[in-house]
Symmetry: D2
C-alpha cells in the first residue's frame, strides 16, 4: 500500500465512522497523500435565514476535507485552529466542492489549505486549518 | 422597542427563517444588544469518527451566535471571515453553550467574540467573527 | 510575590531581554495576571506607503502584549497562531495602546484577546492569539 | 506594460514609498501578477527575549508580501484581516524568504497565501491575508 492508497483508506474509514458525513451527504471525490476533494449538495436544512448556505455548513465541509488530509499519513491528528474567509454565497440544490491540500508539515504541526467552490467553479470560501498529531493510528494496516 | 428588545426580535426572526436552526436544535437562551447566548445538545449525527463533536458543528453553533449578534441592530450583516481555536472535546448528550459578545464596531465592520463551553463550563472553543453590514433590515419594525 | 506581581515581573524581564521592545519603543502601562496594556508611538519608519501605520507594526504591538500575557504565570509559552482584524488607520505621532486579556486556558493551550486603539480610543485592530506552554520558566523566582 | 510588469512596478513603488521597507531591509526578489517573493535578514533588533525572530517581524514580512500581491493589479487594496500559523524559529543572521500567491479574487475581496521559510528552506510560518480593494490606483501609468 503506497502513501496515496493509505490516505484514501484513511479518508474512507473516517467517513464511515463519523455521524456527520452521512448526515451531511459528504462524498469523497478523490483522496491521496496530502490531498482530498469532497462534494456536498446543499439542502434546505443547510441554509440560513437569507436562504443561502449557512457559513457553518461551508466551514463544516472544509473542515471535513482538512480532517481527511491531515490524518492521511495514518497518524491521528486533530484540528487545533482554523480560519475561513467567505467569498460568495450558494443556494439549495447547488453542489459545493472542497479541495484540500497540505502546505506544510513540521514536527507534529501541519497546515492544510482548503478552497470551497460550487461545482461550476464559483468561489465560496478559502479555509486554512492548523492540525496537531496526537499519537496513534486511524486505521489498522 | 429598545435596543435589547430589537436584538432579541432579530434573533428570533433569524432562527425561525433558517433551515439550520431547527435542524441543529438551536435554542436562544438570551439575546440583547451586542450579546447572545445559544445552546445546542450534541447528537450522534454531530460527531466525528472519534465520537466527539465534529469541529464543523462547534463552529456552526458559534457562527450562529455570531450571526444573531452582528445583525442585532437590525442592520443586515454577513460574515466576512471567522477564526476558531479548539480547546476541548465534547460527547453526544452534552449540551454546548455559545456566548457571543460584540467587541468592536467601526463603520460597516464589526467584531464578535464567541466562547463555546459545555453547560458544565468546560472550555470547547474560542471563536472570532468579522462581519460587514450590507444594507437593509432583517425584520420590519 | 502574588500572581499580579509575578506577571508584572515576567513582562518587565521579557521587555528588557528582547531586541524589538526598545527598537519599537514599547512601554508597559500595566501588567498583571491575565492582563497587559502596552503603548507605542508611531514613527515614520513604522508607516506603509499610504503614510499610515503598517499592519505589520500593529500586529507586532498586539503580539507583544499577547506574549506578556500568555507568559504571565512564568510558564514559558510561545505563539502557535494568531489572527488580526484591521478596523482603522493611524498616523505618525499617534500613540497606539494594546490591551490584552487572557480569555481561556486549558492544559497547555491559551487564548488571549488584544484590542488595539489609539490613545484617543479610536479602534485600530482586534487580535486573537493562541499560545502553547512549552515547559520551563521565564524568570527565576 | 503587461500584467507582470505592472505588478512589479507597483511593488517597487510601494517599497520606495514606505517607511518600513528600508527600516526592515526588505528586498524584492521577484514580483509578477498574483505573486511576490521577498527576503529580509534577521537582525538583533528583530528578536524576542528568547533570541529568536519575534512573531511580529515574521508577520510583518509576510504582510508586506501580501500587500504587494494584493495591490499588483494597480487597484489600491488594504488588508482587512490576516492569520498566521507559526511553525519554526529563526535566529539573527538568518534570511527569511516570504513567497506570496493570490489564491482567490471575487469582486473587491482577495485572498493571498504567504509561506515564510528560511533561505535554506526551513518552514517558519504560513500566513493568509484577506484584502479589500478600496478604489484608486497605486501608481500612475
Amino acid at each position: 500500500m503506497d502513501s496515496d492508497q493509505l490516505a484514501s483508506r484513511v479518508a474512507d474509514a473516517m467517513l464511515s465512522a463519523e455521524g456527520t458525513g452521512p448526515a451531511w451527504g459528504i462524498l469523497i471525490e478523490e483522496a491521496r497523500a496530502g490531498y482530498c476533494r469532497l462534494s456536498m449538495e446543499l439542502r434546505d436544512d443547510m441554509l440560513n435565514g437569507h436562504h443561502i448556505a449557512h457559513g457553518g455548513m461551508v466551514f463544516a465541509l472544509a473542515d471535513t476535507a482538512f480532517a481527511y488530509v491531515c490524518n492521511g499519513r495514518n497518524q491521528r491528528s486533530v484540528a487545533a485552529q482554523a480560519s475561513i474567509i467567505f467569498l460568495g454565497s450558494a443556494e439549495a440544490g447547488e453542489t459545493l466542492v472542497a479541495e484540500g491540500q497540505e502546505t506544510a508539515m513540521t514536527g507534529r504541526s501541519g497546515v492544510t489549505r482548503v478552497s470551497v467552490k460550487t461545482s461550476g467553479g464559483r468561489a465560496i470560501a478559502e479555509f486554512t486549518g492548523y492540525s496537531r498529531a496526537i499519537g496513534g493510528a486511524v486505521v489498522e494496516i
